[in-house]
């Protein structure tokens, strides 16, 4: 199958701190890839480099055939980044819904303002996606009237309505109360089942084991393990992976 995301020799420095070290990675169409690892291992930064919320220091990011060289400058570079962002949908830990817009307005904002889509067409598409996350009945509410789980589901619908080629999830359940995590994970499973290519930074090992096609373990700015979830959870190779999984197991019991 065709690869949607291709990262080659990516380096990222914050000042003198080397947070991503020569990372190469390919994600194929319809693949669900989970990124796990201790905090500070660089997994969120890696995700944020894909849509250039963080500008890579070196290396190449390729999304659906659009190739962008990290660390460049100029108008052409900015245009390429813009094109990449249209191909990627992002879901944040803190939801980041726009508080001054209703749920529906949040969801159609991107298609209408950025893509110049006809408003009625955008509304139809938005309602379809809100329905699929189970929140069509909340379309006229404002975000402050929603629970955390509902906010995150709207955020997923907002990202989907941009019709991206790949969805990036940055710890989508980490800011949620435990009893609200399930509803968000269920929506994400549904998105995966519908064939979306997904990259998910998460601490939810259960989700990784159940839904992911591949799990990447990050440590100290490197990918230390890349395998299917079954092998990873039963025969972790790296001691750091083993420690992560043991901690998850002990939390489970």
């Amino acid at each position: 199958m065709q690869s949607i995301v291709k990262i080659s020799n990516l380096d990222k420095y914050f000042g003198r701190l080397h947070v991503l070290k020569d990372i190469s990675l390919e994600v194929k169409e319809r693949e669900v890839v989970c990124l796990i690892g201790r905090s500070g291992s660089g997994k969120s930064t890696l995700l944020r480099c894909i849509n250039f919320l963080e500008e890579p220091s070196h290396g190449i990011i390729e999304v659906d055939g659009i190739k962008v060289e990290g660390g460049e400058k100029g108008k052409e570079h900015r245009q390429l980044i813009h094109d990449v962002r249209l191909k990627t949908g992002m879901v944040f830990q803190e939801f980041n819904l726009f508080p001054h817009m209703s749920v529906l307005e949040n969801v159609i904002e991107g298609p209408v303002t950025v893509k110049g889509m006809d408003k009625n067409q955008a509304i139809a598409l938005a309602e379809e996606n809100l329905d699929s996350v189970g929140l069509l009945f909340k379309k006229d509410e404002y975000p402050n009237r929603l629970s955390g789980g509902q906010k995150q589901r709207v955020a997923i619908a907002r990202a989907l309505t941009m019709q991206p080629k790949v969805m990036l999830f940055d710890e989508p359940t980490s800011a949620l109360d435990p009893e609200l995590i399930g509803e968000v994970l269920n929506v994400m499973k549904k998105v995966a089942k519908d064939g979306m290519t997904m990259l998910v930074v998460t601490h939810e090992m259960g989700f990784a084991r159940e839904v992911a096609d591949r799990v990447l373990v990050m440590g100290e700015g490197e990918i230390i393990e890349d395998s299917n979830p079954k092998d990873l959870f039963t025969h972790p190779k790296d001691p750091r992976t083993k420690a992560l999984i043991d901690r998850y197991r002990s939390g489970e019991n």
């Binding site: 992002m90 726009f98 904002e109 991107g110 990202a159």
Partner: protein, 271 residues
């Protein structure tokens, strides 16, 4: 079990009683404040109707003439505040800019204007600029310094408003492909404005009163100018100023009323 239930009931009713007592206290306080206000107002009216003798004939003859200035006062204030908002927005954006000359221009403007008296600025526009061959229409020579002055002060409010919008909001906008200008216009500014509207209302109220300073120039026939004119002409300054003060006070009360309603509505808003 049943004992626990009754305990709960006792606790609720205790909480209710406490709440009620608190509410009663608040209500009583408010009533007393209103009564005291009424007494003070009555005292003021009594003072000027008996012990201090006012020329009622003068008041009757000139009240309407002075009231005619309210239109000018409000006109100057509205145009000045619009100008001030525009300047404040630019200055606030400049203040948040990472381009040194733009940042410098913004802080230079704010520092210069806030570092000199408004009164001086108004007279400067009337008396100093003509020396350079710049003669502005009288109303504009009043509006420009007021707008410039309030713009400098309001830029701080705007800057705080823009800073109050979280980084996550910008990132969400950028992630759906918005340009920096779209992000500012669609996401950041609407939220910043909501934050800045209550203080802007206060500024507008101050502006209606500071617009009286424009009267010193003698060319703008607003409330204060009219009051001093008729007051001086007949040496009835006391009556004239009382009339003007009454009008300013009423204007302020009305504007404050709308301001507090607006504030309540925004507080209910969708944050």
């Amino acid at each position: 079990m049943s004992q626990a239930q009754t305990m709960d009931q006792v606790r609720t009713s205790q909480a209710e009683l406490l709440y009620e007592a608190q509410q009663r206290k608040i209500r009583q306080f408010r009533t007393n404040v209103i009564i005291s206000w009424a007494v003070l107002l009555a005292l003021l009216i009594y003072l000027f109707s008996g012990p201090i003798e006012l020329d009622t004939e003068f008041i009757e003859r000139n009240a309407l003439f002075i009231a005619g200035g309210i239109r000018e006062t409000l006109l100057i204030s509205v145009i000045s505040i619009v100008l001030a908002i525009f300047l404040a927005m630019l200055a606030a954006l400049g203040r948040l800019s990472t381009i040194p000359p733009i940042y410098a221009l913004s802080t230079f403007y704010v520092s210069l204007i806030r570092g000199t008296p408004l009164f001086l600025q108004i007279i400067f526009f009337f008396l100093a600029l003509p020396q350079l061959g710049i003669v502005l229409p009288a109303v504009w020579a009043g509006i420009l310094p007021l707008g410039l002055n309030y713009g400098a002060y309001m830029s701080e409010t705007f800057r705080a408003g823009i800073s109050s919008v979280s980084k996550g909001q910008r990132e969400a906008a950028i992630a759906i492909g918005m340009t920096p200008i779209q992000t500012m216009r669609r996401i950041v500014l609407p939220q910043a404005l909501r934050f800045a509207i209550p203080p802007m209302g206060n500024d507008f109220i101050s502006m209606t009163k500071d617009s009286a300073l424009v009267s010193v120039t003698g060319f703008v026939h607003e409330t204060m100018w009219r009051a001093t004119r008729v007051g001086r002409a007949e040496f009835n300054n006391l009556e004239a100023l009382i009339i003007a003060a009454t009008f300013y006070w009423i204007m302020t009360l009305i504007l404050t009323f709308f301001q507090s309603r607006l504030e309540a509505r925004l507080a209910r808003g969708d944050r």
